[in-house]
Symmetry: C2
Subunit: 353 residues, 2 copies
């Protein structure tokens, strides 16, 4: 059996690479509205390919980006496996890109290009795996859900589900968008953290003012946002400070922690893999629990005032921070967002959330 | 006498406006290195004009931008008045500019264009005043010092002073770069706050990392900088929190506060004049004291992570804040900067100051 899979892999590798190249080179960046046409192009390419392999495929419209569905149906009474992936990607404006991020590049056995590992490569891999299973008459139905808004928090996924749930009955779901902790040691993720995003904007005037003339009386939106953020979150302890935030967090059992450690997780490898110069201190169990079972509060972007070279000693009139909280089992996103908004409004009534 | 001055003003208005236009349209932005040639062009124009009026003028080189000096010498035994202005300007990247900032524009009796009020207009006004005094044989020598690094904290002014102090003996100095508090009520500033700048940079990795994968273990440089800034400064109270910061601040006397109020200062007018939507609360005496006699701590710019449209849920690897403290009489800038650096290093050893 193994050697048969190996032969299959070799026989389809060229096709896999051609397809991955084609998909990676479509910049399906969901965060940037100017890529709307690329999103649709990416969805169309996926539908077309699914159909060429004999699947029933559809581009399902939502108020936002479409969702691609595909089905290999082999028999009504057979179990149904649903595989989830996403075809949208993050913006690729990091200065560390050595090559054009949307030009696919093969470096030995590594595939390089935005989306090749998150999540177009895994989507294609799962599809090739399904194709193999179907070709070998495995008694199973396989269906795909490929989202195009995953990277922006899936704002219309619920809409899609409500619309299509009737056609998507399933016996099991595989989310094929996670990681293996250690090379050569397969791991199955059985829980994922969700995302509750917020944007904080504070405007205290209509233009920058002179810090010599107005400093001391004018309110500085940057220092106020900084203070507010540090009241929400203790960056030193890695602890959210908003009362009630942790109330509903599910407790980890001893066996869960043991499983975390059995995955092959080490702080050292984690630090190296993510190129973190420094990271939070803690033992393996503490860090693994923080990563996989504790909620977070992160500021993804902050901007205010003059950020060019040199100094411009003005007091800005506006500052903005993009924030997300990763939530864990038993935390209710609506409840947490409401709790956070109330906390922020109480501390600084002028901040728009 | 008055009508003579009025006649003089009318007779030179056209020349004044032509000259102001010429100077304003040279973008002498000291914060932006690409304007180095404009800085020199601005200095040359000033030297040339001083000479055309009969002054001894010179462009004095420093390790940074030059300083322009000019002298009207009428007699060795006569008192010397030195007038200080600066010819550099702030960057003009504010979105509120309705016209090109370096295209001079006359709107009735208002002159519009970057630098027309800070500080090229006042420099020219003082020069025309001096010219009137000299032409009317006022028994005084008048000399000018026009700096081209004022807006970036005068890093080479000390160098200039050490080099040229011997030639610049003076009986009094007028800093012609301040404001009148109320229209029609002349005011003399008898003290100015100085500027102690800092830049804080925190890098916790070499690239942005995924907040779902690393959040909870990776250090977030934005939240850490926010926390650090709020530990340095209470934005709500407008109070610096670093121990020792206020130790040497000179106390205000009752008569000083009375003079502040006699200047015509009102919180309402101040708020309107600077287009502040909201400002710090306090009565006239409190706000005036904060503005003119209390030190400040301001963040002029902060940037970190993704600041484009939408959300990018990465944890950034770098954040940066540009900060200045305005210092008041008896505060020693070296001492304060050292105090601040020590405080910051103690709170977050990874921050580069």
């Amino acid at each position: 059996m193994n050697s048969d899979i190996d032969r299959y892999i070799e026989s389809v590798r060229a096709e896999f690479e051609t397809k991955l190249e084609e998909w990676v080179e479509i910049p399906t960046i969901s965060a940037e509205p100017e890529h709307k046409a690329d999103i649709n192009r990416g969805a169309d390419a996926a539908v077309q390919y699914l159909r060429s392999l004999g699947a029933d495929a559809e581009k399902v419209a939502t108020p936002g980006n479409p969702v691609v569905t595909g089905k290999f149906v082999t028999g009504r009474d057979r179990p149904i496996v649903t595989i989830y992936n996403h075809l949208d990607v993050q913006p690729a404006n990091e200065p560390q890109w050595l090559r054009a991020p949307f030009a696919f590049y093969k470096d030995g056995t590594r595939y390089i290009g935005r989306g090749s590992t998150d999540d177009k490569g895994p989507a294609l891999t799962a599809l090739f795996g399904a194709r193999y299973a179907i070709e070998h008459r495995t008694p199973v139905n396989i269906q795909f859900i490929w989202e195009l808004e995953e990277e922006i928090g899936s704002p219309n996924f619920e809409h899609f589900m409500k619309q299509k749930a009737g056609n998507l009955a399933t016996d099991s779901i595989v989310v094929s968008d996670t990681i293996w902790i250690a090379r050569g040691k397969p791991a199955v993720a059985y829980g994922l953290r969700g995302l509750a995003p917020m944007r904080l904007i504070l405007e205290t005037g209509t233009k920058d003012v002179h810090s010599g003339v107005t400093g001391g009386a004018a309110r500085n939106p940057i220092t106020e946002l900084c203070q507010l953020i540090s009241e929400c979150y203790d960056a030193r302890k890695g602890q959210v400070r908003m009362p009630g935030f942790y109330d509903d967090v599910a407790r980890l059992s001893k066996s869960e922690i043991d499983n975390f450690l059995a995955s092959g997780f080490t702080v050292k490898q984690f630090k190296r893999a993510h190129e973190l110069k420094t990271m939070r201190e803690g033992d393996e169990a503490d860090i693994a629990s923080r990563l996989w079972a504790r909620p977070t509060f992160e500021v993804h972007g902050i901007v205010g005032g003059y950020t060019g070279p040199g100094v411009k000693t003005a007091i800005p009139y506006r500052a903005e921070a993009k924030i997300s909280m990763r939530l864990v089992p038993n935390q209710n996103p609506d409840k947490i967002l409401k709790l956070a908004k109330n906390f922020i409004k109480e501390r600084n009534a002028d901040v728009q959330v």
